[in-house]
């Protein structure tokens, strides 16, 4: 099918679907006055039932925690699939030295950017720990914390280049962290079953409302998600870097690969 035919088909399909879209658009509840009761029930009941102040975390890690477990497994599957495809020919062996992109010039970094990255990375990492630990109290939680932590790791790459990134952010450790996070979540979901209560039932003390420790089981689940997201995305970045670089037989010591 040529490009013109495909475009014609698309336009025809869109014109055919337009009345249906319009019917749905006009039938939806008016903006600003939702009719869904679920969220409002959550808002009303959960601050007292679970002693947490962040309702989004309460939905994610408690009320609909089992769904989040499913999404967490999707993340794990996507990362595993990407790693399997990327490793393909390389296998599990790791080259001793960082490879480099053939034909790409090595750019000397400015001192200022190195300093900013070296100062910024630990601050970002500390911030991600803060976001993860306060997940049940203030806006934030495991997913955001994991993404922030990966940004901190990327700052190391930005400031110090791939060769040092590779030695400072050990790849097997990141894979381990991802598995550990997912395992923590699965254990939190499955262990209550041993006490004959539904999955993800909090058997821990609930803690105090607005306190760092509040929400019982939500705290370890939150940390598990943070670790899994951090490990998953770090593994993805590492595998992409490995795949696009060819190993060098005679690496320059202390190279700063761009």
């Amino acid at each position: 099918m040529t490009a013109r035919w495909r475009l014609g088909l698309l336009i025809a399909a869109m014109l055919a679907l337009a009345p249906a879209v319009w019917a749905v658009v006009t039938a939806l509840p008016p903006f600003g006055s939702p009719t869904a009761a679920y969220g409002q029930v959550v808002n009303r009941l959960l601050p007292h039932l679970r002693t947490v102040s962040n309702m989004v975390a309460a939905v994610n890690f408690d009320v609909r925690g089992l769904d989040t477990l499913g999404e967490e497994s999707m993340l794990l599957c996507a990362v595993t699939g990407a790693v399997v495809l990327l490793r393909g020919s390389r296998g599990e062996d790791r080259a001793e030295h960082a490879g480099r992109v053939p034909g790409r010039a090595t750019i000397e970094r400015d001192d200022a950017s190195i300093v900013v990255c070296r100062i910024g990375a630990p601050i970002l990492l500390a911030f991600s720990a803060y976001v993860a630990l306060h997940g049940t109290v203030t806006p934030g939680g495991g997913f955001q914390a994991g993404a922030i932590a990966v940004s901190a790791l990327l700052l190391v790459y930005l400031g110090d280049g791939y060769a040092r990134w590779r030695s400072r952010v050990p790849h097997p450790l990141m894979a381990f962290i991802e598995g550990l996070g997912a395992l923590l979540f699965v254990l939190c979901a499955a262990l209550p079953l041993a006490w004959s209560v539904p999955a993800l039932t909090s058997l821990l003390p609930t803690g105090k409302w607005k306190d760092l420790y509040s929400g019982g089981l939500m705290v370890p689940v939150n940390i598990g998600v943070a670790l899994a997201v951090l490990g998953g995305f770090a593994v993805l970045v590492a595998e992409f870097m490995e795949e696009t670089r060819t190993p060098e037989s005679d690496p320059v010591p202390d190279e700063e690969d761009a």
């Binding site: 509840p29 903006f31 006055s33 601050p47 999707m74 495809l85 993805l236």
Partner: protein, 116 residues
């Protein structure tokens, strides 16, 4: 005004589909797919919005204050993270296609053609 969020959703989804259909590059298709996906964010966040309501985080204001729907926020949150991982998976597939066939243009690829 009350129709605007839904129309934006439909438009975002539409231009995403347009990008996918007319694309000449797999990386561009993956980008267009992300545009389609962001239409779901607009839809979910606007469907949970309530006028004169705060965030569903009862820290500064006590429980019982009017606030927006937290369920859709939770959905968008996981959607973004899982979407990023799936995008990475798709990019990996594009990388493998480029490795095997030397091109990322879907027009150049023939189904079931045996490449080395």
């Amino acid at each position: 005004m009350t129709l605007l969020p839904w129309l934006v959703t439909a438009w975002l989804f539409g231009i995403g589909i347009y990008g996918i259909v007319t694309s000449r590059d797999y990386v561009h298709i993956i980008g267009s797919l992300s545009v389609c996906q962001s239409s779901t964010y607009v839809l979910l966040l606007s469907i949970g919005f309530r006028w004169h309501s705060g965030p569903p985080i009862f820290y500064e204001h006590p429980p019982g204050t009017a606030s927006v729907d937290p369920v859709v926020h939770a959905l968008v949150l996981t959607d973004i993270v899982v979407g990023a991982a799936v995008t990475a998976l798709l990019l990996v597939i594009a990388l493998q296609v480029h490795k095997r066939c030397g091109t990322t243009d879907p027009q150049q690829l023939r189904p079931l053609r045996h490449t080395k």
